[in-house]
Symmetry: C2
Subunit: 135 residues, 2 copies
């Protein structure tokens, strides 16, 4: 399976950003992939500290890392895929933002009832890294 | 449930480190907690590039972020706990390293058959952050 395909099989991933003082920050995200672009939406209004944090971080350091992994007690079945790239915050009025929200809502029916109020984060993935215990 | 207790209920977490150029790096880890200290072992010899990476990173930037999260399709049951702290690489001969390996092996019987060959990473957690959808 191609790394991006395996990544897309996960329902949740984790986004690492770096703040102005060089410290890492980590949050779980739901996401949709369109080729080598990964979209996630900020689920809470950017006024909220936690949401602001990742947006403020990418404004300073656009490099981000996103990880999807699979765990089970049979360690011969472990795998992970990492997507490294540059992040962009999309304005709500951009066509790409609407496109991303359509992809996210199609993948997560949960968003149909309650669309995410925050802006979309796009990550242009320039490196896929993959590992699996079964080689 | 206290954040550390909820964190410990997860079998896998994700470790974010920052490299010398200020870019984030992300790997899944198995871990054991002892109070506010989190231990994980490098599963492969540090000669291997991927293992070296996280050790080289914490030598430059000791601040790390570790995330445990729970996903299911009922989003009212989502939760995550984040542990932010400073990392230390333990020498294999240190008593703390033996203590950490005992904790890890007791939590993961998988390690009994094949102890991790690499050094132990200790994270002294100075901030626990927790969120759950059910408040």
């Amino acid at each position: 399976m191609r790394p991006a395909e395996r990544f897309a099989s996960a329902r949740v991933a984790r986004l690492a950003t770096v703040d102005a003082s060089g410290c890492p920050h980590l949050v779980p995200i739901v996401f949709a992939l369109d080729g080598d672009t990964l979209y996630s939406a900020v689920d809470r209004k950017p006024k909220r500290t936690t949401a602001l944090r990742r947006l403020a971080n990418v404004a300073v350091q656009s490099r981000v890392s996103v990880l999807a992994d699979h765990y089970e007690e049979d360690w011969s079945r472990l795998w992970w895929v990492r997507a490294d790239g540059a992040a962009r915050v999309l304005a709500l009025t951009e066509p790409e933002s609407e496109h991303a929200l359509r992809l996210l809502t199609s993948r997560y029916p949960q968003y149909a009832d309650q669309p995410p109020p925050g802006p979309v984060l796009a990550v242009d993935v320039d490196r896929w890294s993959a590992w699996s215990a079964d080689g």
